[in-house]
């Protein structure tokens, strides 16, 4: 298992592997998102307290969950970058950032819309710790992207951004535990799998899980595509790239 993981760190192998796996992942992603959306919007019942607006949950919860997970992946890849200087780790971190930022944006916007329906007249609550820390997460993603593209030296930039990602890692537990540590408009936590299984009604559990799968697959697919193009760009003078391109030209 570790040997395969180590092989995956080699650019040509990663390129070949992702090329094989991508079509299946892409189809699976499209299917799960479509099924999830259809199920969540039209089949799942309205909540007895929140009526139809609970349907926003099927987007908000997966987006928020993965906005944090992707950041953790970015920070881990950053740690690998700083310790072992593996090029692919640098690219995976940089490729994840825009997706993570997008998920955070989706979480913030859908959360704000959902909040307006549930908590009355406001789209935003400045005193809520979870909203605040999620907003900080969004700024961290933007700062990461800005720092990465600020210098010409790709590898140095990747290491600087890695330091930033690791420093910002303290924000993640704050987002997650904010509902336990402070009084917040978010009641309780629905982010742990076992808690979801316990507290969410089964008829809503399935579309939620399918949407989570869809968001996860979307991350995988977009990440692989981004990494592939960054790989091609940075290794364009290498033999394996030339071979790949000529194969692509004349299949």
């Amino acid at each position: 298992m570790w040997v395969w993981f180590h092989k995956l760190g080699s650019p040509p192998y990663f390129f070949r592997f992702s090329g094989i796996v991508l079509p299946y992942l892409a189809v699976a992603c499209l299917l799960s998102l479509c099924i999830g959306v259809y199920w969540g919007l039209f089949i799942a019942p309205p909540d007895y307290q929140q009526s139809e607006t609970v349907r926003i949950m099927y987007i908000h919860v997966p987006a928020a969950m993965f906005s944090m997970s992707i950041y953790i992946v970015m920070a881990l890849a950053g740690a690998v970058t700083l310790i072992w200087r593996i090029k692919l780790a640098e690219l995976i971190a940089a490729a994840s950032a825009p997706i993570g930022a997008s998920y955070t944006f989706i979480a913030l916007v859908t959360g704000s819309l959902w909040g307006r329906t549930a908590w009355g007249n406001t789209y935003w609550e400045w005193s809520d710790p979870r909203l605040m820390s999620e907003l900080v997460l969004f700024f961290l993603y933007l700062g990461y992207i800005a720092l990465y593209y600020a210098s010409e030296d790709r590898r140095g930039a990747a290491r600087a951004a890695a330091v930033l990602a690791l420093v910002g890692l303290v924000n993640i537990p704050i987002i997650h535990y904010s509902v336990e540590w402070w009084t917040s408009l978010h009641q309780g936590s629905t982010t742990r799998g076992t808690q979801i299984a316990a507290t969410v009604h089964p008829s809503m559990r399935y579309p939620l899980f399918i949407m989570m799968l869809g968001f996860a697959l979307f991350y995988a697919v977009t990440l692989m595509k981004n990494t592939r193009s960054m790989l091609l760009a940075s290794e364009r003078n290498n033999a394996w790239v030339k071979e790949v391109v000529s194969q692509h030209e004349s299949p």
Binding site: E52, T53, I56, L113, K225, R228
Partner: protein, 57 residues
Amino acid sequence: MSLPEWLNFGKWTPFILASYVITAIVLLANIVMSYRSEKRQLREIALKLRRENRGKQ
């Protein structure tokens, strides 16, 4: 613009629909950009290779 009946979700319909639509736009933008970026890279490198080969001949 009035919505068809099957898109009616009661009082908060605009919020629910807006959530789904905004999400769709953001996700589509991401995936389209990543696919196009890879295609562009492949095309650029192929062009460069063809120019090199022509130069060698």
